[in-house]
């Protein structure tokens, strides 16, 4: 499994401070999880006139990308750090980069965190689709008896599920 990125202990003091500031910048759609926990921030590098923050978009069409970049610049500016945000497409974002802390926060918030990504590549599509290889647990009652209602939920990155036991619907963060 790809390890999520963490601040390089050898990075400069300025970059380290920037990482701390970014840990408080949350996703505009899911306010309990930070852009670091989502694995959106890939690197923070000290430059001649401040820092360069390398981010990777989650989905190509994600409408929150602009807001996230603006929030990152604003948060760093408020902390007195001049910042430039650079978008990198490669390697592509994967839900495997979501930290353990991020997953726990999603679950507390009522969103089932993503299972691991199916890495088998293109194949014949099997119907009665399973989103991943792991069971999907209800974030409220922890039951594994859950069923898919819709492949697209409140946002493109989530699917809508229902718990058969407690009967509550919930969002599932799709493995990508």
């Amino acid at each position: 499994m790809v390890r999520p990125l963490e601040a390089d202990p050898a990075c400069s003091a300025l970059a380290a401070r920037a990482w701390q500031v970014l840990a408080a910048v949350s996703d505009p759609e899911i306010p309990v999880i930070s852009v670091i926990d989502l694995g959106i921030v890939r690197a923070v590098i000290e430059t001649d006139d401040g820092v360069e923050v390398r981010v990777t978009p989650t989905y190509a069409g994600c409408p929150a990308t602009h807001v996230i970049e603006a929030d990152i610049t604003a948060a760093l500016r408020a902390a007195g750090i001049a910042a430039r945000v650079v978008k990198t497409l490669s390697p592509p974002w994967t839900t495997d980069w979501i930290t353990a802390q991020g997953r726990a926060r999603l679950k507390e918030y009522g969103i089932a965190p993503p299972g691991s990504v199916d890495r088998r590549g293109p194949q014949v599509v099997h119907l009665a689709p399973k989103m991943g290889s792991d069971p999907i647990y209800c974030p409220r009652c922890a039951s594994a008896r859950t069923e898919l209602l819709a492949q697209f939920g409140s946002t493109a990155c989530k699917a809508l599920y229902r718990c058969v036991d407690c009967r509550e619907p919930f969002d599932y963060f799709k493995p990508l």
């Binding site: 978009p57 989905y59 190509a60 069409g61 994600c62 409408p63 497409l89 490669s90 390697p91 592509p92 974002w93 994967t94 590549g121 293109p122 014949v124 599509v125 119907l127 689709p129 209602l149 819709a150 492949q151 697209f152 939920g153 946002t155 493109a156 809508l160 799709k174 990508l176």
Partner: protein, 268 residues
């Protein structure tokens, strides 16, 4: 350079035009979950289009010192200021949501939309998988990113195709009709032309014909589960990728581009 740009436009314009068609379902979906699904798939496709068109514009303007005119090659200019003859999307993507027969049912038919998505998204899945190795590193990055999203689009379309095909008499008839109408338009995707020969020789792109076997395997398996009959091969070949489009693209572009053209240079 021109074949490279044309190739990128083919992929970008196809995503954009299909994205526009799917967005037409917004507010008119058969059920709420599908209204949302079409808006989300459309958004993903538009995201792909932005990346590809921006890249095509950069390649086209490379080496030229255009100053203020460089804005004429950004993703918005590429999308809103080109006419149908300059668009390079596959004709399959521009066909109306009601199909090509006169009228269609209520003007739009979800079976047409789902079967079209099945055919095109299955193509994209094969395409992106090959383009990960492209010598054009930006295209390779776009492909790696798009592959994950297209896999979900394909799953959604295949699921519905099976439900329609292996459903009621009416859903089965409409799914078969959709397949029969759309099938000839798939030929264009796999007919390697001079542009593809050139980009394949440079290691940038892939010949359409090479994607056909894996595509057909995927489609055959889905159609079998859907109890649908694969149409006979035909000699028909559409020509959207050469800029020669059906009568439908002009209307689509007129609607898509009117606001930007009425307010040139506006910033939102």
């Amino acid at each position: 350079m021109r074949p490279h740009v044309d190739y990128l436009l083919r992929l970008g314009d196809s995503s954009l035009v299909l994205g526009q068609r799917l967005a037409e379902w917004c507010g008119h979906g058969p059920v709420l979950e599908e209204d949302i699904a079409m808006a989300n798939v459309s958004l993903d496709l538009i995201g792909q289009a932005r990346l590809l068109l921006a890249h095509a514009g950069r390649i086209e303007g490379a080496g030229r010192d255009e100053g203020a005119l460089a804005c004429l090659r950004d993703e918005d200019a590429m999308a809103y200021l080109r006419d149908a003859r300059a668009y390079r999307n596959f004709t399959l993507c521009e066909l109306p949501n009601g199909g090509i027969e006169k009228g269609g049912v209520h003007g739009a038919d979800y079976a047409i939309t789902m079967v079209r998505n099945l055919l095109y998204c299955a193509y994209q899945v094969q395409l992106w998988d090959r383009l990960r190795e492209s010598a054009d590193r930006e295209l390779a990055a776009i492909a790696a990113k798009s592959a994950k999203e297209s896999a979900y689009h394909l799953r959604h379309a295949a699921d519905w195709t099976v439900r329609f095909g292996d459903g009621t008499e009416e859903s089965h008839a409409r799914a078969q009709r959709a397949l029969d109408q759309l099938w000839p338009y798939a030929n264009e995707l796999f007919a390697t032309d001079a542009v593809e020969e050139e980009v394949a020789a440079q290691g940038i792109g892939v010949r359409g014909a090479e994607l056909h076997p894996a595509w057909e395997t995927m489609i055959d398996a889905t159609l079998a589960e859907a109890c649908l009959v694969k149409p006979a091969a035909s000699a028909f070949r559409s020509s959207g990728k050469a800029g020669l489009h059906s009568e439908h693209l002009d209307f689509l572009l007129a609607e898509m581009q009117v606001l930007a053209r009425q307010h040139p240079g506006a910033q939102w």
